[in-house]
Assembly symmetry: C2
Homo-oligomer: 538 residues x 2
Amino acid sequence: MAAEQDSEGLCAARPMLTDLYQATMALGYWRAGRARDPAEFELFFRRCPFDGAFALAAGLRDCMRFLRTFRLQDEDLKFLASVLPADTDPEFFQHLRALDCSAVTLRALPEGSLAFPGVPLLQVSGPLLLVQLLETPLLCLVSYASLVATNAARLRLIAGPEKRLMELGLRRAQGPDGGLTASTYSYLGGFDSSSNVLAGQLRGVPVAGTLAHSFITSFSGNEIPTDPMLATATGESPKVDLPTTVKLWLERVCAYLGLAVQEPHPGERAAFVAYALAFPRAFQGLLDSYSVKRSGLPNFLAVALALGELGYRPVGVRLDSGDLLQQAQEIRAIFRTVAAQFQVPWLESVPIAVSNNIDEEELARLAQKGSEVNIIGIGTSVVTCPQQPSLGCVYKLVSVGGQPRMKLTEDPDKQTLPGSKAAFRLLASDGSLLLDLLQLAEEAPPQAGQELRVWLQGAQEPSTVRPAQVEPLLRLWLQQGQLCEPLPSLTESRAFAQWSLSRLSPAHKQLKSPVLYQVALSEKLRDLVHRLSGRGTP
Amino acid sequence: MAAEQDSEGLCAARPMLTDLYQATMALGYWRAGRARDPAEFELFFRRCPFDGAFALAAGLRDCMRFLRTFRLQDEDLKFLASVLPADTDPEFFQHLRALDCSAVTLRALPEGSLAFPGVPLLQVSGPLLLVQLLETPLLCLVSYASLVATNAARLRLIAGPEKRLMELGLRRAQGPDGGLTASTYSYLGGFDSSSNVLAGQLRGVPVAGTLAHSFITSFSGNEIPTDPMLATATGESPKVDLPTTVKLWLERVCAYLGLAVQEPHPGERAAFVAYALAFPRAFQGLLDSYSVKRSGLPNFLAVALALGELGYRPVGVRLDSGDLLQQAQEIRAIFRTVAAQFQVPWLESVPIAVSNNIDEEELARLAQKGSEVNIIGIGTSVVTCPQQPSLGCVYKLVSVGGQPRMKLTEDPDKQTLPGSKAAFRLLASDGSLLLDLLQLAEEAPPQAGQELRVWLQGAQEPSTVRPAQVEPLLRLWLQQGQLCEPLPSLTESRAFAQWSLSRLSPAHKQLKSPVLYQVALSEKLRDLVHRLSGRGTP
C-alpha cells in the first residue's frame, strides 16, 4: 500500500478539496471552545440508486488513503486565511496546521458489501472540528465510487456471467479522477477489464485495448513497411513476408466470398498488417472503418489466415457501429463457413467484441440467448451513470460529547437517526437475507435463534423476527488513526461483491420495480428517535 | 502559470491516463516506421448538449497544462512493458521515454467561445504516434469541462443576470477531479461562486459558504461559550456579552411574533451565537434544522438584531428544504414588518439564499418575477449534468503526411470531415451571427462584403452568403511546443463567455426546441468530402 500511496497521494482527494463552510464551521467550533469535543458522523444514502433495491458500498480504499495522509499545508492555511475574517486568531491556524487523523476512528462496510438506505457506509468519530472537515472529501470519495460499482453490478446482472465486460469510458468521464474512479469501481462491481492504463498501473485493474479507427485511416496502403518479415509462432521456421502472405490469402478469401480483390480497402489492410506485425499474438481487427462486409471482414480474414499459417491465433474482431447483434450473427456464420472451407477450425470461435453507446437495454439485447457477441465494451453508460448521475450520500452528525444528535426538520425525508449505532444483517436458516437491523451501539447484539422485536422503517407497529444467523455489518478499519486490519485487495473486493449479490433474492435484484429490502430499527433506537422528535433537546 | 502548474501538475491528467489502445497503436505505428509521420487530429462534438443549440468551449487551460508537462516516466514505461508483448523492441520504450510536446502545435477555440457541431474545439498536429497518444486525456479534459460550462450557462440564462448563483456540488461530483473541474467551469459558464475551497486556491474561483445543519445540531444549548464577549463593529465601544444581548432580543422578537420564548430551539440559538462570535461581519442563519418559523427565524432575528445593535449586518439566511419560493416570500414579509417594528431598515433587504436539489425547472420558478430569493445554490444539477452527463466529443484524424484522411464507415453520423481546416464565424451587418464556416486550411479566408458559395450541412444545394464581418475562430496557442500567447485568466474567459452568448440570437439560445445554428462547408471542403467518399483512398 505504501507504493500506491506515493504514486497516488497527490492525485487523490486532499484536505482543501472541501466546501468552504467546513472551514467556516471549523472556526465556529474553535471559537466556541468545542474543536475537540468527541463527535461521530455517519455517511449513508436515503434511497437506492437507479430505482433499484440495492447498492454496493465502495470507495473505502480511497477514504483510507485520504485519511492516512490528511494534513493541511502552509499554503493551504495561507489560502484559508485569505477567505476567513482578517482578525481570525492565529492560534486557529496553528490548530489546523497540527491536525491529522491520529484521533479518528473509522468503521465501515467492507467494499463490495450490499448497502441499503439508512445503513451507514462509514461511521467516523473523532474531534468535532476535524470530523466535520472530513465531510466533503469523504462524500466525494464514497458517493461516486458506490454509484459506479452499483451501476456495473447491474450491467453484470444483465449480461450474465459469461460475456466479458470491458469498461472504456475514460474519455466520457467527468474529469480525470472521475475516470480513474470509474475504472476502479466498475471492475469492483463486476466488469472484467478497463481501457484505462492508469487504473492498471495504480490499481491493478486488468487493462485491455487494441486499435481505433484513426490507426486504420492513417494508412493509405501506399506505405512501405520498415520490416515486413514475421517469425513463426514457434520461432523454428524462417521468417515470412507477412504482406505477401496476406495478399495470397486475400485472393482466396475474396474468391470464396465473391468479392473483387480490389474491393477491400488497401489502407485498412495495411493497417491490419502493421498491427499484426507488432502484435502477432494479439491481433484484433476493427471492422467498420469503411465497410464491414466488403472491406473490414475480408481484410481481417486475410490477415488472420496468414497469421494462422504462421501458428498465431487472432484475438478477435470489433464492431463499433450499426446493428451490433445482427452483424455478430452474420460474422459468426461467415467465420464458420470460412473455417470449413479452409479447414481452420479455430476461426469459428474467434471472439466478437462490440461497442458503441451500449446502455442497459442494448446490453440485454446483446446478451440474449444465442447471441454471438463475446466481449462488450461499455463507456458512457457505466462511467457517467446517466440513469442517475449521483448517489446523493449524506454525512450526518449522530452524536457529540457522547450525547445523541438528530436533525429534526419539517421535511421527514431529511430527518436523521440519532446516536452511535451498530448494524447487523439477519439471515434465515436457508442463508437468505431477512433484513438489516440498526440498533444503538450499547445494545447487546441480536442472537441467532432468538426472537427480536424490531421496527421496520415507516411502520406503525413493531414486527418480530427470529434470525438463524446474525452478521455484524460494520468493521473497524481505523482506531485512533491506527490501521486495524489491511484492506482486501481490489480483486478480493470484486469477488466479495459478486458473492454478496449471489445471496440477495432475485426479487431484490430485479432492476425495474424490485421488492424493497427492509431496514429495521431496534426498539431502543426507535424509542430514542421518538424521544428526540418530541422535543429535540436530549 | 508556473505556480499553478506546480501545485496542480500531479492532480491533473497525466500521460498514463489514457486508453490502452493508444499505447498498442503507438507500438503499431512505431513498428511500421510511422511514429514521426506528421499528423493532425481534430477534437469536436457532433451534437449540442441538452437538446440545445449551443455549447461553450472549455478545458483549454487544462489541456495546455497537460501538454506542457507531458512526459512518460520510467515507472510508466515499466508498466507499459508489462502489458505489451514480451518481445517488444526496447527502442520503442526509449522512443516513448523521450517524448514530449515540443513538436506539437495546437489551435483551439478560446475558452468561453460558442461552439457548434463539427467545428473543432482543438486542432492538434505533430508526430503521429504522439498526437495519437494525446487523444484520451484531451477528450477527458475538454469534454466534461465544456459540458459543465454549457450547463452553467443554461442555468445562468434561466436565472437572469441578477440572482447570485453558487455552485456547491463537490460532494455530488464524479470523483475529486470531477469536482474541481465542475467548480472551475461552472464559474466560467456564468456562476458567481463555488463552495469548493480547492477551486479557490488553485483556480481563483470566488468561494462562499457559511454553515451546515451539523453545526447547528452539534449544539444543545447547554454549552458555555469560552468567550461570549464581542467588540462593536467600530471597535470604539466596550465589548458586549453577545448571548445576553441575543436573549433580550429573543424576548422582544417572540413577543412581537406571538411565540413563547421557549419555542425557538436553544441549541440552534447557541449555534447561531457561536457562529456570530466567529463571523460577526458574515453571519448567516440556516433556518431549517428544526422549524423555520417557530425556531430558525426567531433565533436568526434575535442574533441579527443583537449584531445590528453592535453595528454589524448579517449576510443572510439560508433555506435547504420545503417550498423554497413560498418560504422566501413569507420570510421577506416578516423581515419587512420586523424591520418596521424595530426600526432597522437594513433587515428588509437581508439576502435570502436557497438550496436543495434545484434543477432547471425549479430554478425558473425561483427566478420568476417577484421572487424574494437572492442567492441560489445548485449542486447535483450543475455538476453531474443529469440531463446529459457526457458531451460525447471525438478526436479524429484529419490528415497524415500532408494527405487528408477521412473515416467513411457505413454509419453517416460517424463520418468525419477530412483535411486540415480553418473555421470562421460570419456575421451580418447588425453584428448578429449568420453561420460558422469550415474550409480547407489552404483556402483564402472569406472576405467581409464578398458573396460566398457554401454548403450547409446536409443540404443538397449550395447557398450563398455575404458576411458583413468575418471572424477567425481558431487561435494558435502552441507552435512546435512553444506558447504563442498567454491564456486569458478564468475571469476573462468567464466575461468572454457571457459576451459570446450575448451575440447569439434568442432563437438559438432557447433551452427547449431551439432553432439550430448553421455550420457550413466551403465549396472546396465539400468537394474533398465528395472525392474521398467516392473511393476512400486519396
